[in-house]
């Protein structure tokens, strides 16, 4: 599968509706694996990385999940294409910085992706709509077990799967969910949630993982510990916490709607007006208004069908997507104009929000 074909295809998670889809955008699981007897990618020489890639590719190619997959060496992708894959959460920012000898393999549905020679030899990821970590893990578990019959993983009875960084030891698993929490942010409760979540050994991050800002009121919640607890227990604990946060968000929405209708009308009205009529829009501003529209659609003040459109738009207004769409490199001010234009077009049919 070529890059353009991948780009044209809507990812499976955008078309389906998993549990709690109004608040949980996606669930992702990633497993870190390394080959026994090979240096980890960060310490290996270039030839070493090429060898590992050559060793892995035939096995990955022959997996049923990767029939007609997108397979590309990072050295053969330009900056913008790499960035598009980052914006789609199919590869990490770290992988995008890699060149020849590292690779990305993505199934046509864009539900499973593998990074070869990122920080570890293998980073296997699955992504699903809504809160569905158990199923996301089941898909990867099968694939991982199959791979482990074909190659020898670096594994230790006490430490589990051996990874380049000791923070990933054990299961090598990071389970995360992307939550849309506008009402908790508006009611100034998010800091409390964050500190409570961190206290129980979970991590809260922004849209693009470590060290990124929480744009569009989107937060990633994930497990911090990977050793000492098995995969299903980690997932069960995480899902339980996420379900509680979902409840808090629903309550906060109900309370805002009831106690402060003017504020909600104002936020929605501004979002509607600006997204439909602005001609210059920075990402941050666009993201935050889109977040308000999404909350409007979730709470019945805007059509429910809008939700999916907003998820798509949220990805499409990002810098690399804008540049791919216009088929040229754009400066930041040019992107802001293009972003505003795209939003005006996409939201042309948007009815005015119902007033509270």
């Amino acid at each position: 599968m070529k890059f353009n074909a991948l780009l044209r295809r809507t990812p499976e998670w955008m078309q389906t509706s998993g549990p709690h889809r109004d608040i949980v955008i996606t669930s992702r699981i990633r497993l870190a694996r390394n080959l026994e007897g090979e240096l980890f990618p960060g310490w290996a020489k270039k030839e070493g990385r090429f060898e590992v890639l050559a060793k892995l590719l035939p096995h990955l190619n022959s997996l049923p999940e990767f029939q007609d997959a997108f397979i590309e060496d990072m050295g053969d992708l330009d900056q913008i294409k790499k960035q598009v894959l980052v914006e789609k959460h199919l590869i990490s920012r770290e992988q995008a910085a890699k060149s020849a000898g590292s690779a990305a393999i993505i199934n046509p549905e864009q539900s499973i992706s593998i990074m070869v020679n990122e920080e570890d030899h293998l980073r296997i990821q699955s992504i699903r709509s809504g809160l569905d970590l158990t199923q996301a893990f089941a898909v990867l578990d099968r694939l991982d077990t199959e791979l482990s019959t074909r190659v020898t993983y670096a594994f230790d009875a006490q430490l589990g799967f051996l990874t380049a960084c000791p923070t990933n030891l054990g299961t090598g698993m990071r389970a995360s969910a992307m939550l849309h929490l506008p009402a908790l942010v508006l009611s100034d409760s998010m800091n409390q949630v964050i500190s409570a979540v961190q206290k129980i050994g979970l991590a809260v991050r922004g849209l693009y993982g470590e060290g990124t800002e929480a744009l569009a009121n989107l937060f990633q919640i994930s497990n911090q510990h990977t050793l000492g607890e098995n995969e299903l227990d980690i997932i069960a604990r995480l899902e339980k916490v996420i379900e509680q946060i979902i409840n808090h968000e629903r309550n906060a929405r109900a309370k805002l709607l009831q106690d402060d209708p003017n504020r909600i009308n104002d936020h929605l009205g501004r979002a509607y007006a600006i997204l439909r009529h602005a001609h210059i829009l920075e990402s941050k501003e666009a993201f935050n208004h889109l977040s308000m529209l999404r909350m409007g659609s979730d709470t019945g003040l805007l059509p429910v069908e809008l939700g999916k459109l907003l998820d798509t738009v949220l990805v499409e207004i990002q810098p690399a997507h804008l540049q791919i769409a216009s088929q040229k490199k754009l400066t930041a001010p040019e992107r802001d104009v293009m972003r505003a234009q795209m939003l005006r077009e996409k939201l042309q049919q948007l009815p005015e929000p119902r007033l509270l």
């Binding site: 980890f40 920080e119 020898t152 594994f155 009875a157 006490q158 054990g170 060290g211 050793l227 000492g228």
Partner: protein, 195 residues
Amino acid sequence: MQMPVDLKPQQMRYIPPDTPFRHPSPSMQCDVCQQNPATVFLTQILKGELQKVNLCEACSKAKGVTDPTGFALAEMLWGLGTTDTSEVARERICPACKLSQSIFRKSGRLGCSMCYQTFRESINHLLKAMHKGVQHTGKTPAKWEPPAPAVAAPAPDPPVNRLHDLQLSLQLAVDGEQYEEAARLRDEIKREESS
């Protein structure tokens, strides 16, 4: 999360390239490549002494100076200058991949699976703070068989430089944002140094 005060990374100031201070002296050369004119000037206070480094655009990027998360910068640039020869001589090196303890300390990443044997002691220090437990309870690879108990115990580790191990653990704890553990290790290092 707020870092305990004395665990703050070395104080440093990065003057971005678009400030008026960008070219104080056009003749100044990059300290690293000794070729290009320096455009990035760093000042940091290391053990009470002012240190200055001048870098060109390319070297500053290569060293990650412009990366706001790159606080390991000081170490990258100067190797932190504190490893005297006696310490280097005793430093542990992984026999399989030649990764040294100081490189592990800087990057927080290991070189190969054997490193987990080589640096087991330092890593074990951390596992408790870093993880829920110290014993893997998750899945095992399909082909993997538990090692037969008859296998002879591995040779005992070479004599340990305890201070080295503690410093390594501290670095990893800070990297992993385990500040409580870091504070504990810091106190232990102080005790060790004074004993």
